[in-house]
Every structure is written in structure tokens, then in C-alpha cells.
Amino acid sequence: MTSADNDLERRAIDLVEAALCVDAAQRKAFIEDAAGDDDRLRQRALAILRAGADNQRSLQTGGGLADAMSEAMPYEIGGFKIEREIGRGGMGAVYLARRPGADFDHAVAIKVVRSAASVRLLERLRFERRTLAQLKHPNIAQMYDGGETPDGEPYFVMEYAPGAPLHLHLKNNAPSLMARLDIFSNICASVAYAHKNLVIHRDLAPSNILITDEGNVKLIDFGIAQSLEEEDDALASALTMTEGYGAPERLKGAPASTITDVYSLGVILRELIEGQSAPRPADLAAIAAKASASQPEERYPTVDALMADLNAYREGRAVSAVDKGWPYEAVRFAGRRKFAVGAGVLAAIAVIASSVIMSVLYIRTDAAEERALRRFDEARALAAFMIFDIYDDVTQLDGSLTVREKIVSTSLDYLDALSATPESSAALRVEIARGYQRLAEVAGNPGSVNLGRRAEASELLAKAAEQIEFARTSSDANAEALRAYATINRALGTLEWTSKGNFDKARENYAAAEAALSRLLKMPEAGIDDRVLDGAVSLGLSQSLRFLGEYEESIAQAQRGVAKLETLQEEHPNDFDTLFNLAHAYIYLGEAHTSKDMQADILPEASLSHFDKGVAMLRSLASAENAAPLTRAQYISGLLKRSFSACQIDYARAQGVDDLNKAEALTRSILDIEPDNDLFNERLSYILYVKSECQNKLGDVEAAIATAEDLLRRRQAQVAREPENPDYLEHLYRTHYLLADIAKQQGDWPAACAGFDHAEAAMKRVASLIDAPADYQKENLRNLEDLLHDCGSRNL
């Protein structure tokens, strides 16, 4: 660029600037006149003036940032050519797009979610798109397709419905009250339809409700918020809920549910009736107030109930919102009352459950009718929603035990009814099996936060296994069946191992799970969860082998688990489940080394480095602000396991006691909140056992006895509750033995012999309850016989 060029440009701009002072119509002539015979100046000035002729809004004042944000507008997504941006919301941008070369003009709306998406989120969104694609309703913008852009951003291809969002429609057209109620009825009908298909909207607001140019209602953005919330807790309330329309309990972390959608509908109804000139009918205000009550249990339990009341009003009948004397004016937005965890969910469950069970009973009596079949499908969908979606949401809240219990009992009724139906397709069997398995998990598999009823859990898992058994032998079992089979067998293995002490059976279950997984992992449908499960199954095998005394093989399996999970960690360094299981792999490897060395009478020093790795990982996972209760439990468990080894070693014993004190304090603080949680109660008992031993080794006999007596009371209470649980009885045996052994070391033979007597009684009971006592159990009994023989010879 020469200075002569620059000079020309400068003169051209000056000329244009002068031309801007005259009327737009005369600017061209002004320039031509002023430029005289300077052709280059004239051409440049006119070119610059023309640049503004298209009236394009560009280079707006302060537009730098906004333009930068829209710069990333893509050219093409999923075979659709992007035409322009038509909206921008909390989670990303929406574009108008067309299929190039299509025979007919097919415009779609494509929503691109700006998110640093994890593999897990993408998998979840894929699943969700399939669910949403099945929603076919005239008032719901149809979901066609979706995927991920090459940048990894998830997108949804949806029906394009030109029109105005509800609030603008109301402002521009001022529709009559009757027209407003028609709109609201259509909104309700589509939301009710979605609820029956397992989909919660989660962000119902006027901006998500379109009135098309033809005057039809179209709801957009159904359910899309869900996966994003799960992905990013920080985003949950702030970005996926439109302010003023989200239920108040959601701000406090409660999950979205059908009842939170009811709340949003209530607010929308209120705005519909307040925003028009006709007098506000009191009945309508009452309906709106009841729907948007700040207490979830005071709202309509379902959208259908809300619609029923609305129809009653329209037909001139009495509405329930007024009948029951709802203090609607006072209730509305009354505000900051304490939210009862899960109350709204409970209300929804009760209604859903009864309709589900009714439907199932109905189909059993009248199976041939098409209508019955359709209701059957709806019922299945609803039950799955209850068992999987709601329960998952609820477990994230501390102190939600009662709600969980309610979910279990209603779901179980449903599954039993479903099992007895004549239909026997593989897909249905998989679904029933998964349902039972989930309930078992809930009821008392010690591997998850649960209600602590192992006998019930065992029964449920047996039912699940029965339904899914076909997957083992069927060569055409699909990915879903294999996944269910592996999951259920792993759960069975864990139950056999931890609750029944049947390690051989546990090993068989784990091996069966592993075989199914090796088939599944070769399929394209295999995802990260399946690989994590595969690692976890190796760990289960390692644990059962350890209890069977096959230490070398136990170490080898733990190392396989470590290797699988470390590979996965390299690919997904931030995936929680991978890290969580890898931490366990290190811990289990440490335990396998400990067992091996202890058996060979060697100090378990080799285990310490593995424990250190595992405990460090668990500590960082558990210290995350939003750490789940289970993660905290497992951190405690890691501390405990390391301390067990450390207490064997003179130089590490101080560290061991330190770990134990940390673990005990953490456990007690959690039990303060949820005193009946079996998982944490179990941990506390185990901590007390190890602590007593460690204290004894340190020479603090008095403290050791006090700790052991505390433990004995806990173990006795457990056995009183489930007298035939061999696991609990074996714990009781160990505690008696612990106390007796301390006494024996002190030369207090009368106390020792009384203790050994109790221990023997407990162990004999264990032996009578299990099919075949393991070698170590027989050894324990022989040992006790010898000790009691000594006592006999002392006349005690």
C-alpha cells in the first residue's frame, strides 16, 4: 500500500463524509460534482457510498462482542445448509436451515448446543433424541434428527414453525379470553402427552411456546434441558430455566418433574388471564394459583388434573381449586417456605403408579384390543420413567430415604403385574429384568446407596436374572440384552459376595458378566459405560478370588482391572465413573496384596503404595463440592482399608490410627443426617473393628475394649433385625472373637472363654445357613474348638 493510495483513500472518505451531509438522494451527484475530473477519487467515493446501500446492519455501536459471538455461525450441519440465525438462547443458537437440492422446500430449525460436551453427555443426548423423535403431537415441534457437529457440539434438527413466541403474540394480537384459554388448553394437552411419554419439558415459558402464522400452538425445546443439567450442575438452575417460570423448589436443587412443569403452566395461565382487559374470573385465578402453588404437594398432581379443572370452568361447572378452599391469592408466590424434599415427586408417583397398575391389570383381562395395547405401552413407559428417571433424580438429594422407599414399593407392584402378562418379547424381558435389577439396587445391594434390605434385594435380583437368562444362550441377543445381563450378573456377584458370603457363586456371576461384556464390547453400540462396567467386573472377580484364598489370581484380576481403567482414563481423563472405578482398582489391588502377604506371614508393605494412589483419587473425588453420598462413602472405605494394612506395620501404625479417626468422624457426620443408611452403618462398624485392633496393638487396651463393646452392640442389633443373614452373624462372630482375644492377651481367661463361647455359637449358626462353609470358616470353627478346649481344661 503506497502513501499515494492512502492519500486517495483518505480523500475518498472525506468526500463521502461531506456527501453524508446532503439528502440521501443527492449524494451520488454531490460526489460526482465534487470529484470533478478525478476519476479514481470519484470511483472510490462512490464505491464506499454503495457499501451502505444494502442497509445491512453491520458494525453496530458496541457490536464487537455480539458479532464475535455470532461469528461461529456454521455453514452446514448434518446435510442442511444454514441460512441464518433465528434465535439465541441460554444454551446455544438456533438456525434456519434447508436441505439443498430437496424436491420440495423443506425448512428446518437446527439448535446447536454450545457446550464442552463429555462423551457421557453425547451418549445421553443420542438416547434423548430418539425419545424426543417419538413425540408426535400437533402442538409439539417435531424432532427429526440430530448429532454432533465436527466441533463436537450436539445439535437437534427440528420442525421449523414460523411464528411468534407467546408473549409477543399476546402483545401484538391481544386475543380474547376464550382464545387465550384455547391456547392454554393446547399447551396443556401437549405437555400431558409428553408426560405420558416420559418427557418433562423442564423449561416451559412463553418464549418456548410459539403461535404459528396459521395460529397453531407449537411447543419447542422439549426435554432438551435435561441432559445438560445432568452434565453441568452449575448450569442447572441458572441457564436451563427461564426466570419466573421455574418451580421454586428447583432453585433449591430439587429435580425437574411433572409437577415442576405443572408449576410453569400455572404461571403461564396466570399471565394469560392477567394480560387481557376482560374482568379476571376468580375461578381461573384459583386454577392458576393452585397450579403454581409454591408447595409442590399443593399443586395439581398432574397436567390432566389441571386440564380437568380448566374444562370444568369452561363448561360452567365448579372447579376443584375453589371447592377445596384453596387460599389462592395468599398462596400465590407466598415465597420462601421450606421445601419438603421430594414431596412433589411423591405426589406425581402416586398418581402415575396407580394408573400404571390399572393399565396392566386391564390388558390382562382384555389383551386383544388395540386400545389396551396402546395403554400398555404408555404404562410401560411411565413405569420406566418412575423407576429410572425419578429415582435417579431423588438419589442425588441427601435425606431422601422415605421418598425412595415409596418409589420402590409402587414400582414393585407394577413389575410383578407386568411379569405376569402373556407378552414375552425379548425387549419386554430386558425391560422387566432391568426394572427388577434397579429395584434390587435400591432395596439393598451394598454397592450403592440404598435402603438396606438385603434379603429383599436378593429376591429381586433372582427375578431379574430369571427374566434375562435368555441373553446368555441366545446368539442373537442384542446390545441392550447383553448389557442388562452383564449388569444383573455383576449385581448378583456383588450380592453373593458381600451379603451371602458365597464367593464361588460370586465368581461365577462375575465370569458370566465378563463373558457377556466381551460380546457386547465388540458391538458398535458399546459405550463408555460398558467399558467401565467391564473394568468393574474384573475388580469383582479379584475380590471374590481374594475371599476364596486365591491371592495370586486375585492380584492378577485387580491388575487387569487397573489396566482396563487406566486405558479408559487416558482417553477420558475427566470421566467420573472411570476415575471412581480406577480408584477402587488401586484399593482392591492393595487389598489383594495385603491378603497374600498376611497369609504368608509377611508385613503387607507392598500394598501401601496402591492404597495411597486409590485413597488420593477418592479423596479428590469426594472433596468435590457436589460429591454424591456414595463417593464420600467410598473415600471413607478407602481410608479404612489402608489403615487396616498400616496397623499391621509398626512404622505405619500412627498413619493407620490417623486414617481411622478421619474415617470415623466422616461416617458419623453422614449418619447424623441419614441414620438408617445401611451403607454408612456398615462402614462405621468396620471402622470400629479395625480401630479396636489397632488400639490394642498400640497397647491402649482400655480404649480397644471400649471400641469393641460399642461395635458389639451395633452387631447384635443387626442380627436381631435379620436373624438369618449369615453375613451379619459372621460379623457378630468376629466381634465376640475380637473382645475375647483382647481379654485372653490380658490373661483374663473367664472373659475370654465367655467370649469364645458366644463366637462359636454365632459361627455355627453361619455354617448352618450357607450351602457349604468356606475353608476359612471351617478353620475358624476348628480354632474355636481348640480355644474352648483350653477353657474346659481350665474349668471355665
Binding site: 464487537g64 461461529a72 455461525m73 454450545r114
Partner: protein, 188 residues
């Protein structure tokens, strides 16, 4: 360095021509804006109400409160903020374009893509602005303050010590020149 670390006399030193003080202010503002801009650009979640000028003014107010500042300094600080914002957005665009090239992503690469569709191609805009600075630094300054900093014509008039109507005319003409330059940008 954050706003709270600002020495109270930094604005005075900057106004007195202390280039070290200017660089420190630049760094502080850069960090402030870059953090906000990267969040917004990544998530594309800017609330509609959050305009560039709010962002810039917010930062200036924070610096203002943290330092011993006269009212007249505020406008100079706003001008500096505009320059910082330009740099932040340019860096972000370069980063994004590098990533796209690496991933072989085709987005808006056709010649008319940039200004014609209402989107700014920042690297092209930067080239045009650099050229405008060579042609007429005063107009380039005005564009920077107005487009990147969201300054009002009154504020710019105060800084440039000319009439408001002059600023308005210069801004309009400079905009037209830039649009023309962006439409004929061939080095992209």
C-alpha cells in the same frame, strides 16, 4: 493482576505518559475482558441485556473505584478499554480459526460470508482497521471506541475534543469505508 491490585496513582501516571502504567492497566483490563469474553463465546450465553458498553463500563467503574481517579480520566480509561476489547476479540477469533483449520471445519469461508451476512470476520476486520489507521488514525480510533468499546458519541467527542456532530459524521463515513473494505477483502 486484578482490579484490586491497582496502585491508586496508576491512572495519573498513565495520563502523565508513564508507559509502564499504561501496560499494567492494559494487562488488568485484558484479563478482565478475556475471562468474560471467553465464557460468553464458548457458551454463547450472553443475556440480551449485556451489551459491550455495559461490560466495558463495569470494568472501568471497578478500576475507578479502586484508584484515585478524576472524572475526566474515566473517558480515557474507556478509550483504553476499547483497545483492550479489540485485542481480546481478535485473539479469540485467531484461536478459533486456528482450531477450525486444524479440524478442517468449513464455516463461512466463502468470500461474501463475512460482512454481507452480518457477521464480522475478525481477522479481516483487523486487517481493514490496520489499513484505516494508516489512512486516517483518527477515524480508526473512533471505530475502535465505538465498535469495540461501545462508547457514546458524547464520550468520544470529549476524548477527541471535537463536536458531537463531527464524531457522528466521521463514524458513519468510516463505517462505510470498512464495509467496502470487508466486502473486497481478498487476503482472508
Amino acid at each position: 493482576m486484578t482490579v484490586t491490585d491497582i496502585p491508586s496513582d496508576i491512572i495519573r501516571r498513565w495520563r502523565d505518559g508513564d508507559s509502564d502504567a499504561r501496560d499494567r492497566l492494559f494487562t488488568i483490563l485484558y484479563n478482565e475482558f478475556a475471562a468474560i469474553a471467553s465464557t460468553l463465546l464458548r457458551r454463547q450465553t450472553a443475556p440480551v441485556s449485556l451489551a459491550t458498553s455495559d461490560l466495558v463500563n463495569e470494568a472501568v467503574i471497578r478500576i475507578f473505584n479502586a484508584s484515585d481517579l478524576e472524572i475526566v480520566d474515566r473517558t480515557h480509561l474507556l478509550a483504553l478499554s476499547a483497545r483492550v476489547m479489540r485485542q481480546v476479540l481478535l485473539d479469540a477469533a485467531r484461536r478459533r480459526n486456528r482450531q477450525k483449520r486444524r479440524g478442517l471445519i468449513v464455516t463461512l469461508s466463502d468470500a461474501q460470508g463475512g460482512a454481507a451476512s452480518g457477521n464480522a470476520d475478525y481477522e479481516a476486520l483487523e486487517r481493514a482497521l490496520v489499513r484505516l489507521t494508516a489512512i486516517d488514525p483518527e477515524r480508526a480510533d473512533i471505530v475502535e471506541m465505538r465498535y469495540f468499546g461501545g462508547l457514546t458519541v458524547e464520550e468520544i467527542a470529549l476524548i477527541k475534543d471535537v463536536s458531537i456532530s463531527t464524531i457522528k459524521r466521521k463514524w458513519e463515513a468510516a463505517r462505510l469505508w470498512l464495509k467496502d473494505a470487508l466486502e473486497h477483502d481478498i487476503s482472508g
